[in-house]
Point group: C2
Chain length 322, copies 2
């Protein structure tokens, strides 16, 4: 039924990742010292000969690059690129939109890793941003990335029709604000050492990660001015796929090793957090994620073989080891 | 020359503040428990009879309200309302825009007060947000407000022309991102215990607070589709006025008392931060702020008496005691 081989899928993801990272590197480049936007200041130092700079924007940009360009699965950008291709949207517009979405995802990881939040010291096999640059720089880099995302979305590079840009901005802000991701993160923190039901965990996950998955996939439809029905099918696909992805994450947290996943494992258990795996058990959770993937693929039935990458992605996310 | 009396100015500021706060309260209202967007979860508690909820979005909204509705001078909203009135922009559109700008200002205060940043426990005479709600809620409430600001700006309530909304979003994001406010805050943290020159402090202040003042005043021109020349004059006015405002703040920090200003004083000295007052001395700094105000008012010469509130505001900011 799915005609994209696992190798072809990986190649397609790599292609999106390369374009995405090239564009992110461009947008986060630290200008030469002569640039008018950079203020460098000589420190009056107690040690003769020592020079130091107050770098401001440069420090924030460097911190943003550290987090944005340190790998990651680039699933959300891939969703945007795949859905954009269904409606003949240009590659450049899809990548530009994907950068904004990945900036929002990256900022959320930076803030989520902070000591006052999940207090994590390892991310993608590297020290978390606050471990590498300090807490203040991590807070500000997160703020800067979130702000930058909306600046990118407001630009004509995204779409010549400003109404489409506003539509995207509204969808992204709704998915990532207090009624979406931010609310989900708060809920997640409040849920430590609280016994949640399966339904409650599913709703928590939907806010914390599902809505951003949904809008990443809907974005191609927004850019392509697709009818509401198609946008909703893309959202439904991404919500089911995203939840299956999350369950796999939880399974890896229980069964994986730090070396394989590039982050500390058993974090949820240590934090006393209920997950679908802890509530349903490993076997039932695995079965449930399989059903979700079948359901996700069924939402794509109106689309022709152009949606094969999305179908293959759904099958991949529950078979992955990292 | 200025025909608005100090009393009339205060009344005009109060009028904007009331509309602003009414609208903020509406936008930050916590819905009834039955609302579909609220997930409440019963805690399995060790103490019988104790019930607790995982509130998520509600907690974030409550924290946002705490900060947004705890007073403040509402200078930026007033700038937006005044500049909007020059071009016949509707009161509702001006207030909606002002709410978004005030949300960005408020989020920056919340994050700036965090222990890893300025580590402040008092703001507007009340405990800072992280003191009242904890650090995690303060980080998330700041993130939520920043995101909400862009959601508001993308809405047709701001302007029927989506290109105007994108123009505003771009201007706001530029002023508050890593090349604006966020970069200025990073620079401010890096500048502790570094001796800066007068020019360096002026450039730091421009990024940290000036650009947001400028865009608050330019916003009326953007909403009114004013020519670039007029937008630039409004920016120039706000930059001079904003710097004079900052110098007055620094003078109050040196000379004021905690009771008068509603916040801890002598903070800059304790943090080892250079200010224009510490570098120029009290008298020269006071003279400089007077010159800035004259210059600010001169930028308004193309505008008729409709700009009298802006002229009166400029004179007010350097005479204030809080």
């Amino acid at each position: 039924m799915v005609h994209t081989s696992p190798e072809a899928l990986q190649e397609a993801i790599q292609k999106v990742s390369r374009s995405l990272e090239d564009r992110m590197a461009e947008l986060l480049s630290v200008p030469e010292r002569s640039s008018s936007t950079v203020i460098s200041m000589n420190k009056t130092s107690k040690q003769d000969g020592e020079t130091s700079h107050v770098r401001g924007a440069d420090t924030v940009l460097e911190a943003m690059r550290y987090s944005a360009l340190s790998g990651g699965k680039r699933l959300r950008p891939f969703l945007t690129a795949c859905s954009a291709s269904l409606f003949g949207v240009s590659w450049e517009a899809a990548i530009e939109t994907a950068v904004a979405i990945e900036f929002i995802h990256t900022y959320s990881l930076i803030h989520d890793d902070l000591p006052a939040m999940d207090n994590d010291d390892l991310r993608r096999g590297k020290p978390t941003l606050h471990k590498a640059y300090g807490e203040a720089a991590a807070i500000l880099a997160g703020d800067g990335m979130l702000t930058y995302a909306f600046q990118i979305l407001a630009s004509p590079k995204i779409h010549s029709d400003a109404a489409v840009r506003c539509d995207l901005i509204n969808a992204l802000a709704t998915a990532s604000g207090c009624w979406g991701m931010v609310g989900g993160q708060m809920m997640d923190l409040e849920a430590e050492n609280v016994t949640l039901s399966v339904d409650e965990i599913i709703r928590l996950q939907r806010l914390k990660t599902g809505e951003l998955f949904a809008v990443s996939c809907e974005a191609g439809g927004i850019l392509g001015k697709a009818p509401g029905m198609m946008r909703n099918l893309l959202r439904a696909y991404a919500l089911d796929m995203g939840l299956a992805f999350q369950i796999t994450d939880d399974l890896l947290d229980v069964e994986g090793t730090r070396t394989e996943t590039g982050k500390n494992v058993n974090k949820d258990k240590i934090a006393g957090k209920a997950t679908l795996v802890s509530v349903m058990g490993v076997e039932r959770a695995r079965e449930h994620s399989q059903r979700l993937i079948e359901q996700a693929i069924s939402h794509l039935s109106v689309f022709d073989k152009k949606a094969d990458n999305l179908r293959a992605l759904a099958e991949f996310v529950i078979s992955r080891k990292v």
